[in-house]
Amino acid sequence: MRHRLISVSLFLCLAVLPPIAYALDDPFWITIATRMLIYGLAAMSLDFILGYGAMVSFGHAAFFGLGAYVVGVLTHHQFYDEIIPFLPFDWTGSVSALVQWPLAMLVAGLVALVIGALSLRTQGVYFIMITLAFAQMLYFFMIGLPDYGGEDGLNLWTRSEIWGLDLSDSSQFYYVVLVLVGCWFLLSSRMVKSRFGRVLIGCQQNEPRMQTLGYPVTRYKLTAFVISAMGTGLAGALAANQNEFVSPSLMAWTTSGELMVMVILGGMGTLLGPLLGAFLLLSLEEVLAGWTEHWMVILGPILVLSVLFARGGLYRFLAGKRDAK
């Protein structure tokens, strides 16, 4: 029951954060917390395949960036009233969140279907390198597109719009992000407990056995890969909204690395752990960057040491080792 206690208290804390931040006259905390939630959503999605399907994807930055670019491109075309090229019908984009965000998930999912179908022909270390290489390919593709800013990126003239809400207000945006993260968490934990999730965990533990039992293993893994990419795409769409800017640097390979670090720091295979991992890593970055401009020279060894000595992650530390998973 400690799991339920941790998750309920975590989301309660997050829910009361904006009033407290206003009371302390520090609304900047809301912006930071929103950023953490967005990265936490991406890390949670990555954990779905990393912790339950043993697929070490080093290319999730690509789906993060694609989600962001869908929002960026649609907003850009809406602003200039230009028709989006290479579509079978004439459409000048949209700024509605109900169009942009599902579309971001759809595009990320479709690209993941292609990348996953190719990458899942391999295993282990090949899979790591191939997902990295495909993400890098998309990164260079975006750099090479001058219509959408190339290396300089695109400025968004507005955040997405939902009827009845004002997303440019930082605490309203925060609550929208929080609700989405909560929904994705509930959905993921239901999926993990479902028959689908059990098959996935079975593949992680003994893939030949699942295959012999007659499960179409690759199809299950590909489905999980696509779902994971969709969650990451949604996080990307939210990140584009928060920054009101998209650029290829969202897709840089270091973003993939950071997402993996968040999953490991928080605890692989726990879903809520990666959210905590995102909070931990981003706060560590904030604090160290406040001390010195060369903060990475401190963060690097901390990462190496935590991999070498602190196994299991923050969540398992909170939940107790035996209770976890």
Binding site: I130, L132, G144, I264, L299, V304, L308
Partner: protein, 304 residues
């Protein structure tokens, strides 16, 4: 004779990639270790080569210094971190080496400053050579190609004709057996790591006069090196050579000629834009094609 020049440029890039991939593929084949920090060793090689060359005036001395410095850093990394990761899964190895990259990049920035270094080729290589009548080609690039060939022959000799090479091959396929026969496998691992690091340092040193020496240069070539290893097959030095040349040539030729080819069918402006994007994707498309045909790479050497 633009084509011949570009072809040679491709071969030269291929040789650099081979130097990187040979070390990385040996480290993976023998120790089952994925080492992202290989690009950092390349950067160390480049910086030390440039610094020593500028200080002493001798590029050869610089190259030796670069190789030695990279090898020393490699041994240090191996003894402090990697040694504890051989039995962990690849995810832990990726994360630990990711941490090492962050540290190495920032430390380099602190020592050498944020601005890029530039190095000229040494005087005896700065001329051009007529490869065909009326076709000059920079001597330095030919020197890089020659260095790559020498290293390839050297590695072939070491791996197939020496006792160390025999142990390397045996260690890759039957690790327990080699240990059981009483060989010091841990020393062998450190040696292979140092060899791989020295090759990365050599690649970095040779890249000095061709590229800007800057923080982050290691990661650019690291990802290309991964593509080479995927195409060539993990653990195979021969695969690293063939795939390195293939990737080098495809990348260079598509960058050089794709705009011209596309202009025959598309309007000039959009052809340029499209060619820029597509040519930087060409090697990844090549990789995808190889994966579909041979998922284990061209020369699959050892069991994963």
């Amino acid at each position: 004779m633009l084509f011949l020049e570009q072809l040679l440029n491709g071969v030269q890039l291929g040789m650099m990639l081979f130097l990187m991939a040979a070390g990385l593929t040996l480290i993976f084949g023998i120790m089952h270790l994925i080492n992202l920090a290989h690009g950092s060793l390349y950067m160390v090689g480049a910086y030390v080569t440039a610094t020593v060359s500028l200080a002493s005036g001798s590029f050869a001395l610089g190259l030796v210094g670069g190789c030695l410095a990279a090898a020393a850093c490699g041994v240090l990394i191996e003894m402090l971190a990697m040694r504890h990761l051989y039995h962990r899964d690849h995810l832990d190895q990726v994360l630990a080496t990711f941490g090492i990259i962050l540290t190495a990049n920032e430390a380099t920035k602190m020592i050498f400053g944020p601005q890029a270094l530039f190095l000229n080729p040494p005087a005896w290589l700065s001329a051009t050579v007529n490869i065909l009548p009326e076709t000059p080609y920079p001597a330095y690039r030919l020197f890089v190609i020659a260095a790559g060939i020498v290293v390839a022959l050297f590695l072939r000799h070491v791996i197939t004709h020496t006792r160390i090479g025999m142990l390397i091959r045996a260690g890759a396929t039957h690790r327990e057996m080699v240990t059981a026969l009483g060989f010091n496998i841990s020393l062998l691992f450190t040696l292979v790591f140092a060899l791989g690091a020295a090759l990365a340092g050599l690649a970095g040193g040779l890249a000095g006069p061709l590229l800007a020496i800057e923080v982050g240069m290691g990661e650019q070539i690291l990802i290309l090196t991964f593509v080479v290893i995927i195409i060539g097959g993990i653990g195979s030095v021969k695969g690293a050579l063939v795939a390195g040349l293939l990737v080098g040539i495809v990348d260079t030729l598509s960058r050089a000629f794709l705009p011209t080819v596309l202009k025959t069918t598309l309007p000039a402006a959009s052809a340029d834009a499209l060619a820029g994007s597509v040519s930087s994707m060409a090697i990844y498309i090549l990789m995808a094609v190889v994966l579909v045909v041979r998922p284990q790479g061209l020369y699959h050497a050892y069991g994963t």
